[in-house]
Amino acid sequence: MVLLVTSDNEQFQTEKDIVERSVLIKNMLEDVGESDQPIPLPNVSSSVLKKVTQPSTGPTEIDVRGRYLSTASTTVESPSRPPILEQSQDETRKRTTDISEWDQKFITVDQEMLFEIILAANYLDIKSLLCRRWLQDGSQHDQGARPPEEIRKLFNIVNDFTPEEEAQIKKENEWAEDR
C-alpha cells in the first residue's frame, strides 16, 4: 500500500500496483525506494484523486462501480482494478469494452471536474485517463467520434469560424466522415 496526500491534506491508502499506473507516482516510488513515507500530490485535490484512483468510495461511484463489476463478471478476464487505471500506457490503444460504463459516467461530471481530471491526469501522467473517451463514444447522434457541435457543448468551446470557413473546413474533412 502507498499513502498519498492530496492538496487539501487528505490521506489515501492505495494499492501500489494501482498508483503505479501513474508514471509520476511510479517514478517517485522508485526514487524513494521502499518506504512508508506519504507521497504528496500538491496539484491534485481529494475529490479529483477519488475520481482517479478510488472509484468505490463516494455514493455515486459505488453505483458506477457496481455496474462496472456486473459487466466485468461476464468477461473472461475480469479486471480487478479501477477501470480507468486498467489500461497501462502501452495498452492505451487496446480495444476493450470493460472500461465503458465507467467512462460513460465520467462524461456526466460537471465541466469544472472534467477539467480538473484532465489536469490531474496530465500531472500524474496517466495517459489512459487523459483520454479520447471524452471525445469519442457516448454520443447520442453518432456511433463514432462526437460531432464538432457536441464537442463544443461538452467543452464549452465558442465557435469562432465564419459560416464560410466552417463550410470550407467541413468539406476539407469530409473524407473522415462515415469511415
Partner: protein
C-alpha cells in the same frame, strides 16, 4: 495549483485555456476521426489539430497497429501534415489507380519487391501472405510454413513440429510490433493414421524463434486438409472444418487453453466466421450474427490432449446468445465468406464485406459495424452489388475499402481489380501471371498484391 485556481476563478471554462501540451496529449490518445472532429470546433483547436507533431503521433499509432505498410510509407518524420493526411486518406480509399475514372484502365505499379525462396512445385499449397506491416511474408511452401524478411530477402523462420511426417495446409497470422501470432493448420501421419491439428505459435520476428502456445486436435477427418479460412485475433483463433462429422467451426482460446466446436442447425450447413477484437461474426445461411466472445464462456472445454482421440460434441450456434442478428431470409440471400476490417480512423468501427449467393446471382454486401465502448453494437447496410455474368470471384480476400480480384472466364488473366461495392463500375487491370489465379493475397489496407511464381514471391504495390 495556480492553474487550478485560475480555472476555478473564471466562470466559463474553455478547452483552449488548457495548455497546448495537454491538448496534444489528449489528441495523442484520440482516434483520427476525433481529432478531425475537434479541429472543426474553433480556430485555435483547428490550428493545434493540424500541427505536425499531432499527426506524427497518429501515424505512429497506425504503424504500431500494423495498419501502415512500411514499404509504401516513406520515413514519416520527413512528411508534412498534408502528406501524412494523404497517407491516411489512401488507407481509406485504396490505391488511386484502382479507382479508375474510365472503364477498364491499367493499374500503375509503384513498387515491386521479389523474394527468392526455393519453390518445389506449383501447387494449391503454395500460399504467400504479406504481413500487414509489409516487413515479412508468411509463405506456405508446399506443406512447410516459412517466414521471409521482405527487407533483405531472407528466410527468417521455418515452422517445425515434433512429428516429422506432417503437412501444413493453412495458416493465419496476427502481427504485433515485434512478434506475430500464427495459427498453423496441419495434418500428421502416424502409423497409417492421419490426425489433424491446429497449433498457435508466437514467432519472435527479431530472433526467428518461436514458442508453441497451444496444440489442439481437430475432429477426425478422411480428408487430409479439412481446413478453410483460418483466422487469429487476440486470444482467439478459429478455422472452418469439413470433417467426418460434418461442417464445423472450431475456435480456440490459446491464452486459456480452451476450445469450442460450433455447428449450424444441421451438419451440412457451413458456418462462415470472422474474428474482430472481442467479437465474432458468423453467417449461417441467410442470417448474420454478432457474438461477443464472452458469450462463448459457458461452452468452452479444455483442449484435447494431442494424443487424445475423444471426438468433441459440437455446440449449436443457435444455443449461443447473440448481440445482434440480421435476418435476410426474405431476400433469399445465402451468406458465404465474411471479411471484417477495423477502421483505421475510428475506434470500434468495422467495415464488413460479405460474399453471398442468391439463386444464380453472386452478390457482395457491405455493412458498417460499430461496437462503441459503452453502447449497443449497431450495423447498417451500405451497399449491395451483383457480380456481372462472365466474371468469376474465387475467394480472393476483400480489402478494407472493398477491393478484390476477378478474372474473366476460367481463372486465367487478365486479372482485374474491382470494387465489390460497385462491381458494375470501372475495373483496373493488373498484370499477374496465370499462376496468381491459385492464390493472390491482397493486403487489407495497402492493397499490395502478393503472389508466387515458379521461382519467386512477388509483392506489387500500386500507385
Amino acid at each position: 495549483m495556480s492553474r487550478r485556481i485560475h480555472l476555478k476563478s473564471i466562470s466559463a471554462l474553455l478547452l483552449s485555456d488548457l495548455p497546448p501540451d495537454i491538448i496534444f496529449s489528449i489528441f495523442a490518445c484520440c482516434d483520427i476521426a476525433s481529432v478531425v472532429s475537434v479541429s472543426q470546433t474553433c480556430r485555435d483547436l483547428h490550428a493545434l489539430a493540424f500541427e505536425k507533431s499531432v499527426w506524427l503521433v497518429l501515424l505512429d499509432d497506425l504503424r504500431r497497429r500494423c495498419i501502415l505498410d512500411r514499404n509504401c510509407t516513406p520515413n514519416i518524420d520527413t512528411l508534412s501534415t498534408a502528406e501524412m493526411i494523404d497517407i491516411v486518406k489512401r488507407l481509406i480509399t485504396g490505391p488511386q489507380t484502382w479507382s479508375p475514372e474510365e472503364l477498364d484502365s491499367v493499374a500503375e505499379i509503384s513498387r515491386k519487391i521479389t523474394l527468392h525462396p526455393t519453390i518445389a512445385a506449383a501447387s494449391k499449397w503454395i500460399v504467400p501472405q504479406l504481413l500487414r506491416s509489409g516487413r515479412y511474408v508468411l509463405f506456405l511452401n508446399l506443406y512447410r510454413l516459412e517466414c521471409w524478411s521482405v527487407l533483405d530477402d531472407r528466410l527468417v523462420w521455418t515452422h517445425t513440429f515434433p512429428l516429422d511426417d506432417m503437412e501444413v495446409y493453412g495458416f493465419a497470422a496476427e502481427e504485433a510490433d515485434a512478434d506475430v501470432k500464427i495459427m498453423v493448420c496441419f495434418t500428421a501421419f502416424l502409423n497409417a493414421e492421419t490426425r489433424s491439428y491446429v497449433e498457435i505459435v508466437d514467432l519472435d520476428l527479431q530472433t526467428g524463434t518461436h514458442n508453441s502456445l497451444l496444440v489442439a486436435r481437430v475432429p477426425n477427418s478422411d480428408d487430409t486438409d479439412p481446413f478453410s479460412r483460418p483466422a487469429v485475433c487476440g486470444a482467439l483463433a478459429a478455422v472452418r472444418l469439413s470433417v467426418d462429422l460434418g461442417e464445423l467451426y472450431m475456435i480456440v482460446n490459446w491464452r486459456k487453453k480452451l476450445y469450442l466446436v460450433l455447428q449450424a442447425n444441421d451438419l451440412n450447413t457451413r458456418l462462415h466466421g470472422a474474428l474482430i477484437p472481442g467479437h465474432i461474426l458468423f453467417s449461417e445461411e441467410a442470417r448474420l450474427h454478432l457474438i461477443s466472445s464472452d458469450m462463448l464462456s459457458s461452452h468452452w472445454a479444455p483442449i484435447i490432449a494431442t494424443d487424445g482421440c475423444t471426438e468433441p460434441s459440437p455446440v449449436f450456434l443457435k444455443d449461443i446468445p447473440k448481440l445482434r442478428t440480421l435476418d435476410a431470409s426474405h431476400t433469399e440471400q445465402r451468406f458465404d465468406s465474411i471479411y471484417a476490417h477495423e477502421s483505421p480512423i475510428r475506434d470500434g468501427r468495422y467495415s464488413v464485406w460479405i460474399y453471398s449467393k442468391r439463386h444464380v446471382h453472386r452478390d457482395f454486401l457491405s455493412y458498417r459495424l460499430s461496437i462503441p465502448a459503452n453502447e449497443e453494437p449497431e450495423w447498417s447496410q451500405r451497399t449491395r452489388s451483383t457480380l456481372q455474368p462472365g466474371r468469376s470471384y474465387s475467394y480472393h480476400p476483400i480489402t478494407y475499402c472493398g477491393h478484390s480480384i476477378t478474372s474473366r472466364g476460367h481463372q486465367r488473366g487478365p486479372f482485374t481489380i474491382f470494387s465489390v461495392a460497385s462491381v458494375s463500375f470501372g475495373t483496373a487491370e493488373v498484370e499477374l501471371p496465370p499462376s496468381a489465379a491459385i492464390h493472390t493475397d491482397i493486403a487489407p489496407y495497402s492493397g499490395a498484391l502478393t503472389y508466387s511464381t515458379d521461382s519467386s514471391i512477388v509483392i506489387q504495390y500500386y500507385r
